[in-house]
């Protein structure tokens, strides 16, 4: 589950997929996660950091993580 290499992200949370030409906006936490993914962090590393930083139950995060992955997949942003 790795982000495609050439995905461009900006500080404002814009995402641009040069392979498809699609643009996306994201909420701040999504932008943060994307940055971590780009930095090569593993999903367990990222989740641990989020649990540490945000007021969220592990179970909730786990559910949202699955949804997050499906969003990225729908958006064609993940390596096949």
């Amino acid at each position: 589950m790795k982000l495609k290499k050439n995905i461009a992200t900006s500080e404002n949370g814009f995402i641009f997929n040069p392979a498809t030409g699609d643009s996306f906006s994201s909420n701040p936490i999504a932008a943060e996660i994307l940055q971590m993914m780009k930095d090569g962090k593993s999903s367990s590393q990222i989740k641990a950091e989020l649990l540490d930083k945000y007021h969220v139950e592990e179970l909730q995060l786990e559910r949202d993580w699955d949804d997050w992955m499906s969003q990225l997949k729908d958006a064609n942003l993940l390596e096949q």
Binding site: I15, D22, F24, S25, N27, V56, D64, D67
Partner: protein, 454 residues
């Protein structure tokens, strides 16, 4: 030192599309609604469960008083009659009766409900095509106003009168072309083809009935004030003919109901709040027509209105809870609520406004709102842009006061509590949630089916 953790929001990305609704300026659609008449939504849910209907007594009274003012400032003799079918929970009816409203009923059940509420028989208007002989006899005894719907009813009424020493007070319901389609010609006697006049002459000719009024109800959720002007004008014409040709002056004209609330109809392009005429607009169209017709001042008929929806829709809220979020096969988000079309029947024809009941961030998502029923038709909103809602979050559905609490279905779950907040801000339970016991009370299980052995 304890470091405060940041508020969490689930991560999401949104494709920047060329063709989709832009969000700029649409945020008013979802301001959080945390209080109703000063009572917190969360506390109502905690006390009365979810979902729960909440009615504002203050708003009902305000609506009623405004409507009465709209008519009375234009016309000297006005009477409202509360349309029971719109919402016949006794507490609701009695708010209207306290304000001076009569009762307008369409079945024997509703008729008895009105009597039970203490409405004097001569202030009950009995409409509808399905009046049973025992209902009619009761209404005659009570001197209620019987509005005759069809010839079969007229004949049987004349027949019933043979056994009575009282002359019942009656009116006929007239249907007509008001320039609005469809014409509701299934109810009452048609104006244009002379049926209505024919019925009037039969009533007077029988010598057994006292024709006191003329009634019409031209449709529901009417958006054209001009249709009411046409209806009023045709009733005036009939009334004048009654007086001049049959020497029977008409005491009242009943223009029925049909004024719209500000809900947005499904498929409408512009929102209801911006396009729906006000009660003032309808009052102007109706009263100016009657005043211009040429009645003598002391012969002006009483004007009766049977408004329902416009007086209560915006006084009702439905509070509910998010059961689950899921993503559909096409990537769209779906949110499942703990209420569906079973109790929010009006979701079939309105795009109800829905607000979150708690704070949220400015991010929003297009989603489908589903109810909890195991049926494909259980859709609360086909497409609505709302903030990110999590399981357990609460929402408030606006303008649900009309018809939902009478047309709701008992299907796979019980009907919920109904609460009314009084003018001082105190909530009262006005209809208890149904229970298994309540529901099974009416069931009879034959002895041979009482026991099973699995």
């Amino acid at each position: 030192m304890i470091t405060q953790k940041l508020i969490y929001e689930r991560p999401f990305i949104k494709k920047m599309n060329a063709g989709l609704m832009n969000k700029f300026g649409t945020r008013t659609e979802f301001q959080a609604l945390k209080y109703i008449d000063g009572v917190s939504v969360k506390s109502l849910l905690a006390e009365y469960g979810s979902p729960v209907f909440v009615l504002s007594e203050k708003q009902i009274r305000r609506n009623y008083q405004n409507a009465v003012r709209s008519f009375k400032t234009r016309y000297p003799k006005v009477q409202f009659a509360w349309s029971y079918k719109t919402n016949y929970i006794n507490a609701v009816c009695n708010v209207f009766h306290q304000e001076g409203s009569w009762a307008e009923v369409v079945s024997g059940f509703e008729y008895r409900k009105a009597l039970g509420n203490g409405v004097p028989g001569n202030k009950i208007i009995f409409n509808g095509p399905d009046k049973h002989p025992e209902d009619i006899l009761l209404a005659i005894k009570n001197d209620s106003l019987l509005h005759i719907d069809h010839f079969d009813e007229l004949y049987s009424l004349i027949e019933l009168c043979d056994t009575q020493d009282k002359k019942p007070r009656v009116a006929i319901r007239v249907n007509m072309d008001t320039g609005v389609y469809p014409i509701w010609d299934r109810f009452g006697f048609n104006y244009e083809n002379g049926q209505a006049w024919n019925a009037i002459t039969k009533i007077i000719g029988s010598g057994k009935l006292k024709l006191v009024g003329l009634h019409c109800h031209i449709g529901t959720y009417m958006l054209a004030t001009s249709a009411y002007a046409i209806a009023a004008s045709k009733l005036c014409e009939l009334a004048t003919n009654c007086k001049n040709q049959l020497h029977t002056p008409i005491q009242y004209l009943d223009l029925g109901g049909g004024f719209p609330s500000t809900n947005t109809l499904r498929g409408a392009y512009l929102p209801g709040v911006d396009t729906v005429p006000s009660v003032d607009d309808f009052a102007e169209a109706i009263t100016s027509t009657i005043l211009a017709h040429g009645f003598k001042q002391d012969e002006l008929p009483l004007l009766i209105l049977e408004s329902g929806r416009v007086l209560i829709d915006d006084a009702g809220y439905l509070l509910g809870t998010v059961l689950a979020n899921k993503r559909l096969s096409d990537g769209r988000r779906a949110t499942i609520m703990d209420f569906g079309v079973n109790i929010l029947f009006t979701a079939f024809w309105y795009e109800h406004k829905i607000s979150p009941a708690q704070d949220f961030t400015h991010h929003s998502e297009d989603m489908v709102l589903y109810g909890p029923l195991c049926m494909n038709i259980d859709v609360v909103r086909e497409s609505v842009n709302l903030p990110l809602l999590n399981r357990g979050d609460n929402v408030v559905v606006h303008k649900v006061g009309a018809y939902n609490m009478t047309q709701w279905m008992q299907f796979i779950s019980m009907r919920p509590n109904v609460v009314m907040i009084d003018e001082k801000g105190n909530p009262h339970l006005i209809r208890k949630a149904e229970t298994l016991g309540y529901l099974e009370m009416q069931e009879e299980t034959p002895t041979h089916l009482k026991s099973i052995n699995l």
